[in-house]
């Protein structure tokens, strides 16, 4: 089906304003049905035309792809981020203003589902500080009222509720929480939080605890472990193992005459090749060692410069700039050592993808890698001939 915010005209009949469903809710409850539809004054033909046009737009919009609705946030976290949001299920304990505000943001963003646990009824004092409640909700379950409004904000989200006090839930039914991705606990006393924290930890669920008091508040996140694979890091290191080139690179470098007299060829020799060849030359003259002290690194740079035929040879300038890459210490860094030595790298069927990857990395390093990480495989820009 073609992507087009206008597609699905067939489904455009869905014009029923969501406020109407609210009216039904009240009718069922036996409460007073307050008209939520603000009456539009009829101002004559031109106004009617305007309403028809916007009604048509609304119809099209109602049938629009969710991608259009989420466009602005997709530009922050992309499809993957959005998918993660849509897979997640949140449990909110206590739907006072703090919890409601938090849920509002999650629901707008398209969270998979929210479940509100709150045992209280809507009181007069709630009306003053919670924008999701109005007079029609007085006396009803606060959780239920909040959920119905949240549902209006985004009908793609599943909004459920349990009329139960969070403290009771924590004490009597801890396994309730294992179905969730995140538990958001607001305005809970410390005793409940401590119990909840150990429940969440053992089930590997994220716990976010929040309290607000007047103009101050606190948010605290409790997670057992959070693994991040940064696939697009800010600083990418072009690692071409210049200190220990792999066989094909060595051969390629050998096949090029870096002292070719032709000035065009000379100034287009890729700097990688220059470095590989000169590093080898250096090592031959220094007992197999590569430049390591500051003095040696400077001398190595001079060696490179000595091979320049001309002042404007960009490739040689690149070589000088990147000459430090030849002096990289072999082997893996301490941070990586820490990760692969972690006990979680002994994987089993319940291990996360992250740790399975780490386990394979560990094996690679011990075998094919010969103590080094796999080559990243990206080739940096460099001055060269097209071939």
């Amino acid at each position: 089906v073609p992507w087009n915010w206008m597609h699905g005209r067939a489904g455009a009949k869905r014009l029923a304003p969501t406020s109407a469903s609210r009216e039904q809710l009240h009718a069922r409850e036996g409460g007073v049905a307050i008209p939520h539809l603000v009456p539009l004054p009829l101002l004559g033909r031109s106004h009617r035309r305007e309403t028809t046009a916007s009604a048509a737009m609304a119809a099209a919009a109602a049938a629009a792809e969710p991608k259009t609705k989420y466009d602005r946030q997709l530009r922050i976290w992309g499809d993957q981020g959005q998918a993660a949001l849509e897979k997640a299920s949140i449990c909110l304990l206590n739907c006072g203003p703090t919890g409601t505000e938090a849920l509002k943001n999650l629901v707008l963003g398209g969270i998979g589902s929210v479940t509100v646990v709150d045992g209280s009824k809507v009181e007069q004092s709630d009306l003053g500080n919670n924008f999701l409640l109005d007079e029609g909700c007085l006396g009803q379950s606060r959780a239920k009222s909040i959920c119905s409004f949240l549902q209006e904000l985004n009908d793609a989200v599943k909004a459920k509720y349990v009329e139960e006090s969070p403290a009771t839930m924590i004490d009597t039914n801890p396994s309730f929480f294992s179905q969730f991705t995140v538990v958001l606990a607001t305005q809970l006393p410390e005793s409940s939080l401590l119990k909840l924290d150990s429940i969440c930890r053992s089930a590997n669920i994220v716990l976010v605890a929040a309290r607000s008091y007047g103009l101050t508040g606190l948010v605290r996140v409790s997670i057992k472990e959070h693994c991040v694979i940064e696939s697009k890091p800010d600083h990418s290191l072009d690692d071409l193992r210049l200190h220990n080139p792999w066989p094909e690179l060595k051969q390629f470098a050998k096949s090029i005459d870096i002292c070719d007299k032709d000035p065009v060829v000379h100034k287009h020799t890729p700097y990688i090749v220059i470095l590989v060849r000169l590093a080898e030359k250096w090592a031959d003259a220094h007992d197999g060692q590569l430049p390591s002290t500051r003095q040696e690194k400077r001398e190595f740079k001079d060696l490179i410069r000595a091979h320049m035929l001309n002042v404007d040879e960009d490739n040689y300038k690149e070589a000088v700039e990147s000459s430090y890459k030849v002096s990289v210490t072999p082997g893996i860094s301490d941070e990586i050592r820490q990760i692969i030595d972690d006990s979680s790298s002994e994987v089993n069927f319940s291990s996360s993808d992250f740790w399975v990857l780490v386990a394979s990395l560990k094996e690679f390093i011990a075998n094919e890698g010969n103590g080094e990480l796999p080559l990243e495989g990206t080739i940096p820009d460099m001055t060269s001939l097209t071939e």
């Binding site: 946030q73 530009r75 963003g109």
Partner: protein
């Protein structure tokens, strides 16, 4: 203080919805809201007072109605209008105790700033972009006004970069949007830099873009394709000097990219019916806007979109302006930009990404707006209590700096050389013999100085006035003056002449001293004139050794050409490649982050870690 206060909110969008909610919950009961916009689907991920059923309706009115549902007893007046309208004059502003901005463009912000200064009403400004946001307080006489520090002006590119030597995708987008699209579908009377001469001088046509009588649509489309992507590139390649140090572009011809199209005529798989919005993607069965199309696919989309405009939207041709919500226009521009990018060895982009660049789309999320709205109300309460020692500029950062995610900074004293709040004369370098008054008014007075309805005087001679209520002969006289070069105006403008420029509504008056100069650098000074004399305060910088370094930031408005905002690609940290040329205005947050490099610059306003200026006493 909140109960008695009368508050004006400008903007009922991302920040506005959250702000209106917070104001209502905080006890404010007398609120005016101005917003000219209507609700769109893409608003619904954060502007929570709106529903799908409201799409197309006025934001100001719907927001008001939504708030009244849970706070029926407060007073909200909503105006579906442009804050720059004449009705919102100084007297209108004077009725408020504080003005709160939730705008998304620099132009309106400057206008409101001037009115607040004129009416002597405190202003709480704000902005957000993705996870970044800020709130600033501006009180006449006590703090800087919004314009005391130069704000980044929307990025513009040198003409030659766009027409001949693009090196970034955004350059291709600008070409596709402002040149090709405009040439084919926009106002024919507008100047356009595309090469209109055809290959064979024998053609009787002056403009190769014109369709021949009875020319087959397919043929027309392919002819244009070959002209802009093939012939024009060949012409450009003839100039060896241009390509001495640059990668040479490859001409692209339809016979190479779509050999089968040349043979067939008019047979596209057309499954659109007359009631649906025409879409090249739909016709071609391309369904994923995030997919990067091949050169062939881009070519097909281009030809198909081209044809659909002529087949289904003929009436609009000649009047079209690019609109990011116009699906077909976005498809056309994406495809055209991609083919050009291919020629020049620039990476191709998906429709989703191209749309973001072409439409200056700013990424946005509900949470940042909620935070900023809360901060706005806190500052508003301080302002109402005259608690000036505690006014703060607060910056909401993406990553904690010094362990703070919300960084408060004391406001600075007014800039004594700010031309808006402290009446400093400005200097304009311009060639008075060739520059028309019209150019000065458009590029400097309206654009850089942000005046809406300016008045220009030379000594006691009024050479130009803008607005309604002009006599016919006056208006005719001004129209004539617009077309005259400065040196030939009724009161001639030459080296040393002083212009007085005023905007009554904004109650702003400026002097501009003219300095005649013959030559201007095409790349660095594309406007052909340079405004200076307005200096930002001297910034004292503490470097890591603890030494004090003074870094006077550069004086001209031109210096702000180095700053841009940057939208981000989905899932990626912002790539500074994605720059925007924008005829509209800046991003929602009028600050961004300083980096280096020719045109990859953005600026963090008043970075508290770097700047120590005179604090508010």
């Amino acid at each position: 203080p909140s109960r008695a206060a009368k508050v004006l909110m400008v903007g009922a969008g991302g920040i506005g919805c959250e702000l209106l909610k917070t104001l209502a919950l905080s006890g404010f009961s007398d609120i005016h809201v101005i917003d000219l916009d209507t609700i769109e689907v893409s608003n619904l991920n954060r502007q929570f007072l709106f529903r799908k059923s409201h799409v197309g309706q006025s934001k100001a009115h719907v927001a008001r109605d939504a708030i009244l549902k849970f706070r029926p007893n407060i007073n909200i007046e909503s105006h579906h209008a442009n804050v720059k309208d004449a009705q919102f004059n100084v007297d209108f502003f004077k009725q408020f105790n504080v003005v709160l901005n939730g705008l998304d463009n620099l132009d309106a912000r400057r206008h409101v700033n001037r009115l607040c200064l004129a009416a002597e009403v405190p202003l709480v400004e704000s902005g957000t972009t993705g996870f970044l946001g800020q709130v600033t307080v501006h009180v006449k006489g006590k703090t800087e006004c919004y314009e005391c520090q130069p704000k980044p002006i929307p990025k513009s590119y040198p003409v030659c970069t766009i027409t001949s030597t693009p090196s970034k995708f955004v350059h291709c987008i600008v070409w596709a949007k402002e040149l090709l699209f405009a040439k084919l579908f926009g106002d024919k009377n507008q100047d356009n830099d595309l090469n209109v001469h055809s290959k064979d001088g024998s053609s009787s046509k002056l403009d190769v873009f014109e369709r021949d009588v009875d020319e087959d649509l397919d043929q027309y489309a392919q002819r244009i394709y070959d002209h802009v992507f093939g012939y024009n590139i060949e012409v450009a390649l003839e100039n060896e000097e241009t390509w001495k140090n640059r990668r040479r572009p490859n001409p692209v011809y339809i016979r190479d990219t779509l050999p089968e199209a040349v043979k067939q005529n008019g047979s596209s798989w057309d499954c659109s019916n007359d009631h649906e919005e025409p879409s090249a993607m739909a016709s071609l069965g391309l369904t994923n806007p995030q997919e990067i199309w091949t050169l062939a696919e881009n070519s097909r989309v281009l030809l198909e979109a081209f044809k659909l405009f002529f087949e289904k939207r003929e009436k609009e041709i000649g009047n079209l302006v690019f609109d990011k919500d116009d699906q077909l226009a976005v498809e056309f521009v994406t495809a055209a930009a991609n083919i050009r990018a291919h020629s020049f060895g620039i990476p191709l982009h998906s429709l989703f990404e191209a749309k973001g660049v072409a439409g200056n789309i700013v990424h946005a999320v509900a949470t940042t707006n909620a935070i900023i709205a809360g901060l706005i109300v806190i500052e508003a309460i301080k302002v109402l209590q005259d608690d000036y020692k505690n006014y703060r500029m607060t910056y909401c950062l993406e990553h904690p700096t010094k362990k703070l995610l919300l960084m408060p900074v004391e406001p600075f004293e007014p800039n004594p050389s700010c031309y808006v709040c402290s009446e400093t004369p400005l200097l304009l370098d311009v060639n008075t013999k060739v520059t028309k008054l019209k150019e000065v008014i458009d590029k400097i007075i309206k654009s850089k100085l942000g005046m809406n309805l300016p008045l220009v005087m030379i000594g006691s001679t009024l050479v130009f006035e803008d607005g309604d209520g002009l006599e016919e002969d006056e208006a005719a006289n001004y129209a004539l003056n617009l077309e005259k070069v400065l040196a030939e105006l009724p009161a001639p403008v030459i080296n040393g002449t002083k212009l007085t420029v005023e905007d009554f509504q904004q109650e702003l008056s400026c002097s501009i001293n003219i300095k005649h100069r013959e030559e201007f650098d095409e790349e660095k000074e594309p406007d052909g004139m340079v405004l200076s004399g307005w200096s930002a305060p001297v910034e004292k910088q503490i470097n890591s050794n603890g030494e004090n370094k003074s870094a006077a930031s550069s004086s001209s408005a031109r210096a702000t050409d180095d700053t841009v905002e940057d939208p981000s690609k989905p899932g990626m940290k912002r790539k500074l490649d994605e720059l925007l040329e924008t005829k509209e205005n800046c991003d929602a947050s009028s600050s961004a982050q300083v980096v280096e490099d020719d045109d990859d610059c953005t600026m963090l306003d008043g970075n508290p870690a770097l700047i120590k200026k005179k604090r508010l006493q």
